[in-house]
């Protein structure tokens, strides 16, 4: 999976550089998030601007990251959702769980 990870101080920015986040690659995202948590990070921003398609496995990986961040008194916030990706969060009611920002810079500034 093409994932760009950058420590921005208050939070880590993860940019998913893939067209799809699905059952094929969501495990890698989950593993990368776990690695960051193990390194002591607890605040993440996941930028999904390049992601055109997300399935239930992709959503599950983000829920896993959210739970792990919360259990470490941190948070996982989302940014850059395309319209159809956003509608997936609405369909599954996960838009009530995640803080969702248009711009990743705004998400980073919110920590």
């Amino acid at each position: 999976m093409n994932l760009q990870i950058e420590d921005k101080g208050t939070a880590v920015l993860m940019q998913v550089k893939e067209e799809r986040l699905d059952a094929h690659n969501s495990g890698e995202l989950k593993a990368q998030m776990l690695k960051l948590f193990e390194e002591g990070k607890s605040n993440l921003v996941v930028d999904l601007a390049d992601v055109r398609f997300v399935d239930s496995s992709g959503l599950g990986a983000l829920v896993s990251g959210f739970k792990n961040a919360s259990s470490r008194s941190g948070s996982l916030k989302l940014a850059g959702l395309q319209l159809q990706v956003k509608s997936m969060f609405e369909l599954t009611r996960l838009h009530r769980v995640f803080e969702i920002f248009t711009d990743p810079e705004d998400a980073l500034a919110s920590f």
Binding site: A23, D55, A61, V63, K67, Q84
Partner: protein, 139 residues
């Protein structure tokens, strides 16, 4: 009533790397429809989604992630009804358990709910050597 006629029959290895291929076939069928009055881009996303979910379910839960097995998929449109069938070789599972929205913090089990939300009729029935998930949508 004018209708598009489509018949696709494909078998792919029981591997998640092929989800993208199957999803794109659904997407391209939606975009190529001549006789559809709704939002074709939304339909394209939805068909990509339900085929991805159905195939991922077949791979993980029914075919026990055995990469030597195959997933068989049929897609047809007749009389403005789209029918998609995903065949697996497994013991099957009770889809009624997954028809409702999952609690927000659940990491798994949303696939069948998503398929139910998008399609008009969904059944999961035994075949000679496994099960078939049949999903119908009126176009």
């Amino acid at each position: 009533m004018p209708t598009d006629r489509v018949a696709v029959d494909i078998k792919v290895p029981n591997q998640t790397r092929y989800l993208c291929l199957i999803g794109h076939i659904g997407e391209n069928i939606a975009r190529a429809l001549k006789h559809y009055d709704g939002d074709k881009e939304k339909l394209a996303y939805d068909l990509n989604l339900v085929l991805t979910e159905a195939m991922a379910n077949a791979i993980r839960h029914a075919n026990e992630a055995d990469p030597t097995k195959q997933v068989h998929i049929e897609i047809s449109i007749v009389d403005r009804q789209l029918i998609m069938r995903v065949y697996d070789h497994g013991q099957g599972f009770d889809i009624r358990q997954f028809a409702d929205p999952r609690p927000p913090m659940d990491e798994h089990g949303r696939g069948i709910f998503i398929i139910h939300s998008v399609m008009d009729e969904v059944t999961y029935t035994p075949t000679r050597d496994g099960h078939v998930l049949e999903m119908k949508k009126n176009l």
